[in-house]
């Protein structure tokens, strides 16, 4: 019954979305405002439908409706309630529902917030976002239906199907020590199979982490969020209204999507650091890369749109960047969900490859076609010309080139195996080419280095035309501070390359801090405000500018964390007997004993007890361990961590034999800066996204003016 409700709601959501898209198109071509209004209503209806679908699925997970195959794959009785809930995004079908729900949520929010202000664009926005929504609902209904159930057929086989096959009866999964079996009566135990219980297999152990509770929804919010600016861009293309209007109305949408994508990437890094047990947070894994790619082009877009807003330039470029971002979102989704790329993050091989591939190809064709069509009409002509080669416009364009270069490098590194595989099969190459982290580590630091220079210089350059002399004066203080820092580092014996990296990051940081100082100091002197008040008012008066600086500061802090935890990382691996010690940096680890334990959720744990000393003084007890959730799966390696501002000591239990253990210990200096930098970045973005109070103020001022100029007398 529960599954039937879910199936019906899911199908109705598809009907509503498809109808909404059709009505929007019909309304555009027949100029029928009633049809357009109906389209809007249809999307408003599809949202509660999909919400209902998600609610039914979560309820099934919580109450143990294991006849539903998805529920049995991701949930089980012993699983904590929170994880039963988050199991919604623990598998392919459920996470696709979450994806679709978020997309519909964004669409409805855009319809509510932009309906009046962008009435010309909204019908087309509904068409483009609606097509994506309807496509994903096709996948939800016909390819990865989360309500597919187990059925026992007359021939004794068990089959997964959404609708009941002829003559079939429900089959219920039972877990035994040998694996899964099925029974047609949902009660107690199976005769002759003692210990078998009606239960699910439970969530993949790697997903039982707080980071994984929040990371996927954030990432999906980032992915689906970018569909709204894309839909606005396509609407602008369709209507030919290619001025700064669509940019202004989508700036916040782009920022919101970018913020969630950033948060998703940061949380994903934290999850990898805590759970994957390799001492790092970014492994240049294909799926990580697939999330990074739209972030790179989205960041480039957020910078280049400012030029169109201010100067009416780069209309075609901005259009291309948001299209590229959307296509990379689709690419990322294809990569994660079709098993095309091998990664720890991918869902199993699925039947989605063909429909997703076709949708991606068609979307690319439509994007390129419309772009060429409007380009040939001269619709991308700039309102202004570039007045100086040294200007904020040119530096932003340079920044875009670097982001694009990073996109090319990461894209090629991620997809090279597949692309060169095709080339090899076609006889164009002898071997496939695959890349590991070394490839990215060889190229990307240089490009990020250039970005840090631009981060320091570009905001100080004037629009239209900057003078080299004035710009030089603006960066004088940051350059002096950077030089002093670099000399200190070199004197301390830090290598030239590391000093260069620190210098570039520090330059961007100093330049941003100097800008803050100048602004606050000017207010402090001019208005006699105390420093704190001056700072808060400076922010309030020019929120966009200073929130941007805050985001830059966040990136600088992340940069410091990355350099610290990679250039200065120390790793030791040793096999130890009880009482043996291992030295790493100023720390000494003493291995005490190895013991087994059973957790409340029935997982078995092998734990090494280690005491951590610093300069002879005990500072912590660490318990690196391996968790065994299921004998059929690899164990999870959980690090024993000691965190300080200065560094993390991160100990892993890699092997053991009797009471001897092999420990791998990392000292990751400044690694926590990565998370704090992420927090600063998110705070900066939230401030930037926060709605303006202007409309209210403007209304009040207008009312006051009207009353002030009202003619006297009757």
């Amino acid at each position: 019954m529960l599954a039937d409700i879910g199936i019906a709601a899911l199908f109705l959501a598809f009907v509503a979305a498809a109808l909404g898209t059709f009505l929007a198109l019909y309304g555009i071509f027949t100029r029928s405002s009633a049809a357009i209004q109906s389209a809007r209503n249809a999307f408003m209806i599809s949202l509660p439908m999909i919400t209902g679908v998600a609610a039914v699925l979560i309820y099934a997970q919580m109450t143990g409706e294991y006849q539903i195959a998805y529920v049995s794959h991701v949930s089980k009785d012993a699983q904590p309630d929170l994880l039963k809930f988050t199991a919604l995004w623990g598998g392919q079908a459920g996470s696709l529902i979450l994806w679709t729900w978020m997309l519909n949520l964004f669409l409805v929010a855009a319809l509510l917030l932009n309906w009046k202000s962008e009435h010309q664009l909204m019908p087309w926005v509904m068409v483009f976002a609606g097509v994506t929504l309807a496509f994903f609902l096709v996948l939800n209904n016909f390819y990865e239906n989360p309500f597919s159930r187990y059925w026992a057929l007359e021939n004794g086989n068990v089959k997964e199907a959404v609708l009941k096959p002829d003559g079939a009866v429900p089959a219920y999964p039972y877990q035994t020590s040998q694996g899964e079996t099925f029974h047609v009566v949902k009660d107690g135990f199976i005769q002759g199979m003692p210990g078998a219980r009606y239960d699910g297999r439970g969530l993949n152990p790697l997903l039982r982490h707080p980071g994984m509770v929040i990371h996927p929804p954030m990432l999906y919010l980032g992915f689906t969020g970018f569909i709204i600016p894309f839909a606005f861009a396509m609407a602008a293309l369709a209507t030919g209204e290619l001025g700064a209007g669509w940019i202004r109305s989508t700036r916040r949408w782009s920022l919101v999507a970018w913020m969630f994508l950033s948060l998703g990437l940061i949380l994903g890094g934290r999850w990898a650091y805590d759970v994957l047990g390799w001492g790092g947070y970014w492994g240049w894994d294909p799926v990580e890369n697939s999330s990074l790619l739209p972030w790179l082009t989205g960041t480039a877009f957020l910078h280049s749109v400012m030029i169109q807003e201010r100067r009416g330039m780069l209309k075609g470029w901005n259009m291309a960047m948001i299209m590229l971002t959307y296509l990379l979102v689709l690419f990322g989704t294809v990569a994660t969900r079709t098993g095309l790329l091998s990664s720890v993050h991918t869902f199993a091989q699925s039947p989605l490859s063909i429909p997703m591939g076709i949708f991606l190809a068609l979307t690319t064709l439509v994007c390129v076609g419309m772009f060429i069509w409007r380009g040939s009409q001269g619709k991308f002509q700039n309102d202004h010309a570039l007045e100086g080669l040294l200007s904020r416009e040119s530096l932003f364009l340079f920044n875009n080139w670097v982001f694009l270069a990073l996109t090319v490098v990461v894209f090629w590194g991620t997809w090279s195996e597949l692309i060169t595989g095709f080339a090899r099969d076609a006889g164009l190459m002898r071997r496939t080419i695959t890349f590991g982290p070394e490839y990215y580590e060889m190229i990307t630091p240089w490009l990020f280095g250039i970005l840090f220079i631009l981060m320091g210089v570009a905001p100080l350059a004037a629009w239209r035309r900057a003078s080299a002399q004035k710009l030089g004066r603006s960066v004088r203080v940051p350059i002096v501070l950077t030089t002093i820092l670099s000399v200190i580092l070199l004197v301390m014996g830090i290598g030239a390359l590391t000093t260069l990296a620190v210098g570039l990051v520090a330059f961007a940081g100093f330049a941003t801090l100097v800008e803050f100082y100048k602004g606050v100091s000017a207010r402090h002197q001019a208005h006699r405000e105390n420093w704190l008040v001056a700072f808060s008012r400076l922010f309030a008066r020019n929120r966009r500018r200073y929130s941007g600086y805050t985001i830059h500061l966040g990136v600088v802090v992340i940069g410091i964390g990355i350099i610290g935890s990679t250039a200065f990382q120390e790793v030791r691996q040793m096999t130890l007997s009880p009482g043996d010690t291992l030295d790493i940096g100023p720390y000494t680890l003493q291995y005490n004993r190895l013991f087994e334990a059973k957790a409340v959720d029935s997982r078995d744990m092998m734990i090494a007890e280690v005491t951590l000393y610093r300069d002879g003084r005990k500072v912590d007890d660490l318990r690196p361990r391996q968790d065994f959730f299921d004998p059929r799966q690899n164990p999870m390696t959980i690090a024993g961590q000691h965190s300080t501002i200065e560094n993390d000591v991160y100990a892993l239990l890699t092997f053991w034999e009797n009471d001897r253990v092999t420990l791998r210990v990392y000292r990751n200096p400044l690694v926590n800066f990565v998370w704090w930098g992420g927090l600063i970045l998110i705070i900066g973005t939230v401030v930037a996204v926060w709605p303006d109070p202007e409309p209210e103020t403007v209304r009040k001022v207008q009312t006051m003016r009207r009353s002030a100029y009202a003619p006297a007398g009757d």
Partner: protein, 176 residues
Amino acid sequence: MKKLLKVALISVFLLSFAPAVVAQMSGEELPPGVTADDVYRISNKMYCEVCAGVPLSDCPSVTCRAWRQEIARLLGEGYSDSDIKSYFAENYGSAVTGVPLKTEDRNIGLGLPALLIVLAGVVIGGRLLLLYQRGESRALQAARAAGLRSDYDRPVPDNVDADALERFMRLVEERK
């Protein structure tokens, strides 16, 4: 197809040892003079084809463990880091290293993105110059029309708010 077959064979090999993975999580035998740190240094930069980008050093599978033993053995025999990588690339395919070792693959692998980046740079740079030239000519035309001297071509002060300047310029245009 060939790759699929290779992956399938390695998978079958791994699966055949699956029960042993959990049961035999013991330390690895190291030849005299070779430390676990040495093995880690090399294995951390190598990958097996079925472990989805997980470095050899961190992979719990039996195959990866055997490969680590082999690295230790080769180290004991006096192989250098690069010799070991070449040995593995030769015997198990180029996917074991993070960057292709063969010159031909390396040139294609690293040259293609470099070429694309340069091309993008040329396109963007060209567009920038084109925009700039138009800007110059318009500014000069306007200066000539207004009878201004060539020092019209003065840079805009950095501390002028761009929006304010825009409004001011529009006002001047309207007044002409």
